[in-house]
């Protein structure tokens, strides 16, 4: 019987082996690629569920790669935070790979094999980032993720090449910053293990190099997660990538960078360091607040649906980072600590995943890119458009959708922080509420075009032209989850997983002082 202790490493290894298998199997039979990828991700997903279950009941899983003990060997440490992000990541990957079968056959008929090989590599990288307990290993996986993402974005050719190149340049700069940070820490502590670092570092908190390293990490990861104003690569990359990749980029890849940031902040460094030595979270809050507004305003200016969604992602990353920024100054068991951030990571993955998949569906069916071209599609593709509407309503934040819950939680967190020593944070309440209205403007425009416009409203015979089931089901699952998960949050918060994460980092109600 396979013990749960081995699952973390298996998740990564299986995925990587599968990537090479796809390459070989695809050489023999193109059709097999998708199935191999699907099967692998399904197995990974099931494993991740076991891991999550184990971590929440029995505590963290620690695995030494090759049996080498930690400061020298690589260590995988899975606590509640990793497990949570891993489950989400593999779930969305599973949805996207199901969707991709028909879409890739249509969109990239000559590159099926390389697409799935890269896709699997991308998943490998993402799993690696989430699971590893070694900071250099994390860097390696970030590079694996990014490299496969560059290639996947470029796979459509033409204008996508430029988008991919911009991403490549900026992504490389971000990775350099990250590596510099690692180098500084290694020079001072002589270790790369996260747990080891967290034990050695506190005595060096006064050290300028340690503080500089933190800033390098922050800047590097900010580029990776497209935090305003370092978001310039994102709109092109997201709009020109194949749609399932857009969904993954927006729903997971930038969120995994957020995960890395949280890990660096609270596992490598500590709350004490952030609040006392480099009080950067205040700055991040304001930056995110500006990002929320600017991202939405830029989204309003877009004509291309996928580009609009991409700018909306900039705004949504603002939500997540604002919630992260507030995490050190809130202490409620319900919306204190990382709760709102972790919640919105899931919510954004569901909403944006669904929206990008629907945008891809329009391209799949009729090469429709611009919002103005979507007139009257609701009669041709009623289910797809219904999915879009549910997700759009969530983005606007109509109760009881996921968007509403995140919005309320972040507002409560801001109020909490405002009454706990940061009176200016009351502005965030206004920012969040105002952003609701901006979201309304650009999402409702699309919904209106889908349902209310079109030439032949009185003709009874409009031919149904719905998506194939393998694409429709992923869309509808994500759309339904936008509402179901919203109600789930309202009922189930505070979740034990969130509690464990906050306890782990000493945030929220577990804060000392």
């Amino acid at each position: 019987m396979l013990s749960v202790e081995h699952l973390p490493v298996l998740v990564v290894v299986i995925s990587m082996l599968s990537s090479f298998t796809i390459l070989i199997a695809g050489w023999l039979n193109k059709k097999s690629c998708c199935f191999i990828s699907f099967a692998t991700i399904l197995i990974q997903f099931i494993m991740s569920l076991f891991i999550l279950h184990h971590v929440t009941t029995d505590g963290p899983i620690i695995y030494w790669l090759g049996g080498w003990s930690p400061p020298w060997g690589i260590e995988y440490v899975v606590d509640a935070l990793n497990a949570y992000v891993l489950v989400l990541l593999l779930f969305l990957a599973l949805v996207c790979v199901t969707y991709s079968k028909r879409n890739i056959e249509h969109e990239l008929p000559h590159q099926i094999v390389s697409f799935y090989a890269l896709f699997q590599l991308l998943i490998t990288g993402l799993c690696g980032i989430t699971l590893t307990g070694d900071i250099f290993n994390m860097y390696v996986f970030i590079e694996i993720t990014s490299l496969s993402a560059y290639a996947l974005i470029a796979s459509r050719g033409k204008i996508a090449l430029k988008a991919s190149f911009t991403y490549l340049v900026l992504g490389a700069i971000g990775a350099c910053f990250f590596l510099l940070g690692i180098g500084f820490l290694y020079a001072i502590t002589g270790t790369l293990n996260i747990h080891d670092l967290s034990l050695i570092l506190p005595s060096y908190y006064e050290n300028r190099a340690v503080q500089a390293a933190f800033v390098f990490f922050t800047v590097g990861l900010s580029i990776k997660m497209a935090l305003f104003p370092l978001h310039v690569w994102l709109p092109d990359a997201h709009s020109f990538a194949p749609s399932e990749i857009s969904a993954l980029l927006s729903g997971i890849i930038i969120e995994v960078s957020t995960y890395a940031f949280i890990r660096i902040c609270f596992s490598v460094y500590t709350v004490d360091f952030i609040t006392r030595y480099v009080p950067i979270f205040d700055f991040i809050c304001w930056l995110s607040a500006i990002g929320i507004i600017v991202g939405s305003i830029l989204a309003i200016a877009q004509y291309n649906l996928k580009r609009m969604l991409a700018y909306s992602s900039v705004s949504q990353m603002g939500y997540i980072m604002l919630a992260v920024g507030l995490s050190t100054s809130t202490h409620s068991p319900l919306w204190g600590g990382l709760n709102p951030a972790l919640m919105h990571i899931v919510n954004h993955a569901l909403m944006k995943g669904c929206l990008f998949l629907v945008a891809g569906a329009f391209i799949y069916k009729a090469e429709l890119w611009d919002i103005a071209d979507l007139k009257g599609l609701a009669r041709k593709m009623p289910y797809t458009c219904f999915g879009f509407t549910l997700a759009a309503i969530s983005m606007i934040g109509v109760p009881p959708s996921v968007g509403f819950v995140s919005k309320v939680y972040i507002i409560f967190a801001s109020l909490d922080a405002a009454s706990a020593g940061h009176p200016a944070y009351i502005v965030f309440v206004a920012v969040l509420l105002f952003s609701t209205l901006l979201n309304l403007v650009y999402f409702w425009r699309v919904v209106e075009t889908l349902y209310m416009k079109g030439e032949d409203i009185h003709s009874q015979s409009v031919k149904r032209d719905e998506l194939p089931l393998s694409m429709l089901i992923p869309v509808l699952i994500l759309a339904a989850l936008c509402i179901i998960v919203g109600i789930f949050w309202l009922i189930e918060m505070p979740l034990p997983v969130f509690d464990q994460i906050n306890a782990l980092f000493g945030l929220g109600e577990y804060a000392t002082s």
């Binding site: 319900l334 309503i393 606007i396 109509v398 109760p399 009881p400 309320v408 507002i411 409560f412 109020l415 009454s419 309440v429 509420l433 105002f434 609701t436 209205l437 309304l440 409702w444 209106e448 349902y451 209310m452 416009k453 079109g454 409203i457 009185h458 949050w489 309202l490 009922i491 918060m493």
Partner: protein
């Protein structure tokens, strides 16, 4: 002694339209079965709602809690007498409007009827949900559902004009939702509860400064833009681009009444009359109401489109409700509460008449309606009854609520005891824009022949029923337990009467 009764009845009442909406979609291809579901759900919902009356009249509260999203805030229903007044009104009128819709939509061969009935069911879901909800959060959720589900109804025609109306509608009402959300979050932040409490949340005054409470109240007022108080009223006349049954039910009953319902909830159950006195907010509210009453009536005088004129009349009457509650006296609040169902019955008659005229003769403008009373006598007689109600003349329900409002002014004393004159001016203005319609319809020579041509029976019967109800209310205000319920609500509010500065 107030007892709390645990019961699932409110949920079943709410679920009727929700389940009906799914059946409507499934049976979209068979119009008769589809409309059958609507009617069935409407009748069932009304019966379920009315079945809660006896328990409530004994002074109890029916509670049904699902879960607790935040400490101290439960998602669930808590039915009291005042909520039931609104619930009975909307669910009873839904039956009539469903029948009316069938006549209207089929006569005009409207498109997308399945979508229409689907959204209609959800709108009722929202309205009854608002009526039965026991705290601000639950109310907010249904409030937003009501807003979103009525958008497709307003933009139903899909003409540029209708699309503009829909956009304006959403822009106003979802913005209002944002203010409402801000207000309820601040309320929770201050007091740690969102429940509606008889006489107001007790610790609200102690926990917050005067200025905060003032701002909070303004946020609430902005949040209830659905009440169409001026200067935030202009979505309502524009929304008249909707099909007439929508204007009838949603813009005379469900949507706008949700707004004034919310204002009464906030004044009496969140702030409480005493705190309103202490903050001097009654006067603010009265000023807004009086401004709206007079200006809306002046606007109404200038309208030639019948539905637009009715829309401005609605704005005026809604502010009468606000006026009543702003008096902060027992009679005033009672008048405000009872005016919600009374006005609903009278205004829905007027709107349905406007729709019937449109279906039977295609006329929308008052100036074209010369002699139409001879062609459609039944419709125009009912219209006259409704118009009498608007002008607060006996023997209609409108007289009763106005009577209470005047009594409320006297109770308030001071300068306010002169305010009945303002009501009088308003009533005269009402006469000035309603009686010409009646004159034109009955006494001017018709252009064509005066052959009888009424609207289909599906439409005529509901109109006659609502008009009859408006008259019955005058003689027997306890129809549908209305006056009993309002009195129960008043006695549990327990407002001390008497003069205040």
């Amino acid at each position: 002694m107030i007892a709390e009764v645990e019961s699932l009845t409110p949920v079943i009442a709410i679920l009727c339209p929700a389940i009906a909406s799914i059946l409507i979609i499934l049976f979209g291809k068979w119009p008769n079965i589809r409309e059958g579901w609507t009617m069935l759900a409407a009748v069932l919902q009304f019966l379920i709602v009315i079945s809660m009356v006896p328990v409530i009249l004994e002074g109890n509260i029916i509670k049904c809690i699902f879960f607790t999203p935040f400490p101290g805030v439960e998602f669930g229903f808590s039915v009291d007498a005042f909520g039931l007044v609104f619930a009975i009104t909307s669910s009873f009128l839904w039956i009539l409007v469903s029948s009316y819709s069938i006549g209207y939509m089929r006569s005009l061969h409207e498109h997308a009827q399945t979508r229409y009935y689907f959204c209609f069911a959800w709108a009722i879901f929202g309205a009854v949900g608002i009526a039965l909800s026991g705290n601000l959060l639950t109310m907010f959720i249904f409030y937003e559902i009501l807003t979103v589900s009525t958008y497709p109804l307003v933009a139903h025609d899909q003409t540029p004009e209708a699309l503009f109306a829909g956009r304006k509608y959403l822009a106003y009402l979802l913005t209002a939702g944002v203010f409402f959300l801000a207000a309820l979050i601040i309320t929770y932040h201050i007091s740690g509860t969102m429940d509606f409490v008889n006489g107001g949340i007790p610790n609200l005054a102690a926990e917050a400064s005067r200025a905060t409470l003032m701002v909070l109240f303004m946020l609430f007022l902005l949040g209830f833009m659905k009440a169409a108080w001026m200067p935030f009223h202009s979505w309502l006349p524009t929304a008249m681009a909707a099909p007439t049954p929508v204007s009838a039910l949603l813009h005379a009953v469900a949507v706008v009444k949700a707004g004034v319902f919310g204002i009464i909830r906030v004044v009496c159950y969140i702030f409480g009359v005493d705190l309103m006195h202490a903050l001097g907010l009654g006067l603010v509210l009265i000023s807004i109401a009086i401004f709206t009453i007079i200006v809306a009536n002046l606007f109404a005088l200038a309208q030639d489109n019948l539905k637009k004129r009715l829309a401005y009349s609605t704005i005026n009457q809604l502010s009468l409700v606000i006026f009543g509650v702003a008096l902060l006296t027992p009679a005033g609040i009672e008048g405000a509460m009872i005016h919600i169902p009374f006005h609903a019955f009278m205004k829905i008659t007027l709107f349905m008449c406007a729709g019937a005229i449109m279906v039977a003769s295609g006329k929308r403008n008052i100036s074209d309606m010369a002699g139409i009373g001879r062609v459609m006598p039944v419709t125009l007689i009912t219209f006259t009854i409704g118009a009498l109600g608007m002008c607060a003349l006996p023997p209609t329900a409108g007289y009763l609520s106005h009577h209470l409002l005047v009594h409320g002014c006297e109770e308030a004393g001071g300068a306010i005891s002169y305010f009945p004159y303002i009501l009088l001016i308003a009533a005269i203005l009402d006469v000035m824009y309603f009686f010409p319609i009646i004159y034109i319809a009955f006494f001017k020579k018709p252009e064509g022949g005066s052959k009888l041509k009424e609207a289909p029976l599906f439409m005529l019967v509901p109109i006659v029923i609502t008009a009859t109800c408006s008259i019955i209310f005058y003689f027997y205000p306890d129809l549908f337990y209305m006056s009993d319920l309002v009195e129960t609500a008043m006695s549990s509010l327990n407002i001390g009467g008497g003069v205040h500065p």
